[in-house]
Assembly symmetry: C2
Homo-oligomer: 434 residues x 2
């Protein structure tokens, strides 16, 4: 008998799941058919790339599409584009799309997230053209249009990743930029690091206003809303248990309950250091979760793949004119860490001090004083600083202590590091104080 799979949502999570389900089933001579619905006219695009498209580093929105609808169809997915699912009946095993009901054996719910829109931004229930989020390729196209006149000042509400990236994009285009935020710039970072990013914004010519609560649209200038995402799960309300935030919490194979699977930005993920669920809507998790889910779904129960949670790792960049900052984090933020945790800021260099291009960086390390286990690392610095976070993430994943990080064998050569790699100096300095 053929296993009928319906996928709701044709982006990273849903399409990864669909492909892997087909592969896994084929490998085991299992019969499976995958029907997928995508509400928009684009699949599998890199939402994270939109600011770089607006900032004119990437030529077109099409460049951000990792895999076209046709490519998905060639792999055997029955993909219906521009077809929003309007209802899901979990008990009856049906979804409704285009007025028609479709039965499924297994449902992959991969609707992703939607940007948070404050009520005051709506005029008669809709957003004016010059106000809105940065989420879909349609948003990107609209902002390119709105920012066509480079003399228009741009206001960005929200100083997290997207806010910072859009500030970079607008500054690179030559706009006058005001960044407004309730909290600090990059507020999940340690205060000293947050201040470095804020300094970078100011050096690049942006006006930064923190402690600001907006309550109305103030003028006709473009206003970019970057105040966060929320899981898009209204289709399941009342049928399935959702978290306080409205997210699904699938197991490590992507299963929510029998015959219901989910992956991507409509889900929370298990935060391994926090030891709790967290909402970390990121493309890299969506891809991994989708693959694990698809493998479980297509293999009929003998999958060896599993998504074992996340660490809160993230990276971004702020590069405008002479300002060139890389910004990255993994593990607990200072606020997430228990009061008993110890933290220390260390300044150093991305290369040997005498080397041309050696850039300053600052590393904030947090650890548990009793177990000496590493809890979190945050980095802000010049070119070469950001990706250092991966070694820290590997340590966190494997449960390393600050001593292990300090003394392990990381790479050194003058163009790349100091003789004690700065990440290890940061760990060592904290270790000495525990």
């Amino acid at each position: 008998m053929t296993q009928r799979v319906v996928v709701v949502g044709g982006d990273a999570a849903g399409m990864s799941a669909a492909h892997q389900a087909l592969r896994a089933a084929k490998l085991r001579d299992r019969s499976i058919e995958v029907l997928a619905f995508e509400a928009t006219d684009r699949t599998s695009y890199s939402a994270c790339g939109i600011p770089y498209w607006i900032g004119e580093e990437v030529g077109s929105g099409d460049d951000l599409v990792a895999r076209s609808a046709d490519a998905h169809r060639e792999a055997g997915i029955d993909l219906r584009m521009g077809t929003p699912v309007t209802a899901v009946d979990v008990a009856a095993h049906t979804v409704t799309a285009g007025g028609e009901d479709f039965e499924y054996d297994d449902l992959v719910f991969a609707t992703g997230a939607q940007p948070i829109i404050p009520d005051w931004a709506l005029v008669d229930g809709t957003l004016p053209d010059h106000v809105g989020p940065v989420h879909t390729l349609a948003d990107g196209a609209r902002w390119l249009d709105q920012l066509d006149d480079r003399s228009r000042p741009v206001t960005i509400l929200g100083a997290g990743y997207i806010g910072l990236e859009m500030a970079e994009a607008a500054l690179r285009r030559g706009h006058q930029v005001t960044l407004k935020s309730q909290g600090r710039v990059m507020s999940t970072f340690a205060r000293e690091l947050s201040e470095r990013v804020e300094g970078g914004l100011r050096d690049a010519g942006a006006t930064v206003e923190t402690g600001v609560t907006m309550t109305s649209i103030e003028n006709d200038d473009p206003l970019i809303l970057a105040i966060g995402l929320e899981p898009r799960t209204s289709l399941l309300e009342g049928q399935v248990s959702l978290s306080e935030r409205g997210a699904l919490r699938p197991d490590r194979h992507g299963q929510v309950q029998e015959h219901l699977w989910s992956a991507g930005d409509c889900c929370e993920v298990w935060h391994r250091v926090l030891d709790d669920w967290a909402y970390l809507p990121l493309g890299t998790h969506a891809n991994k979760q989708g693959r694990a889910l698809g493998d479980a779904l297509g293999s009929g129960g003998d999958s060896g793949l599993h998504f074992d949670g996340a660490l809160g790792t993230a990276i971004t960049r702020f590069t405008v004119g002479d300002v060139d900052l890389e910004i990255s984090t993994t593990g607990l933020t200072r606020t997430q860490a228990p009061d008993s945790a110890a933290s220390l800021l260390t300044e150093g260099s991305t290369a040997s001090g005498y080397f041309p291009g050696a850039a300053p960086l600052a590393i904030h390390v947090t650890a548990d004083p009793s177990s000496r286990r590493l809890l979190g690392v945050q980095i802000v610095g010049g070119p070469g600083a950001g990706k250092r976070i991966d070694a820290a993430a590997a340590c966190l994943w494997m449960g390393a202590t600050v001593d292990e990080l300090a003394w392990m064998d990381l790479s050194y050569a003058p163009p790349f590091a100091t003789a004690w790699e700065v990440l290890q100096v940061a760990a060592r300095r904290l270790a000495e104080r525990l």
Copy 2:
């Protein structure tokens, strides 16, 4: 009673040991005095930086000195410069320098390494001016003099790290360069990666001759010898057990035997993946070993610091004109790995494919098929490729499997990585084949 420490060798290992011994003793109110002998007129210099000095990226040899003799003296070290130790009597607890005997309670033997010089290169027992190694700052000054005339062709014997770095330096200066080597270019790397580096050398205009055994000085053109290092331990011969290679094998506190300590390039280090001793003469190990040794020495036995071996991690660069390669490795080479080990080469990109500046890279991953443990990773690619090795090194240090590396939470954003970080794609692809 004051503990009398004599240090032989004023470079990274010896001076790190001396400083940490003083700090550790002070912290515990222990009385200690440190007398150190350095044969040359420079302390604590970055030998790894010499090629970049010759390649004119670093302005002067002085820039490579991390800490001057005076700075060491200010910290309380009685440092005798230009004073070679001519004899060590381990039984009598004395060293001889400048014709005088000095007694010690504890000896720190940190004489480092010496470059291997083939017999045929010696004329009447000495090297002609235009033939020699790249090891000391004096060597660096001599090569700058020899390469003053940029029309002189330069031959380099040896295609390992130093050979490659000197080829880069000479090419950047505008010399015609021939690189000769018995084995492949960067022969500890997988063949496909080795070929990429060789291709880079050729693209940059170098002539590469492999399978070559030199037996004589062929002409008056500069001939740079870069065929390896050997531990400088002749002062201890017949008194202390040395490895086949002539190296010391101190414990993790730097102790060779009672009252005899050693660190740096005169030592082998424990290779954690090879599960055996290995000769890995690198400044970063010397620094770490020296610090652990000094702490044990100065604390009188209650040190918490230890040097727990290495992984064979290394990194370098080949950047000439349009050629820009980063080259790094950690863990077992294909030759060191058991026959049962599985390896796979994966090609990918340092950033999202659509991102300007995304550079190709290739990653070679080796793992044990039964335990699925990661055994080694090697990387050759464009800017941003090399330091990715640190996440792999952290995994090796912590004993991760390829599955753990593939699914852990490493950082992603379009300017820095693909949605599945390429290092994880490489691990995942190998995992799928185990």
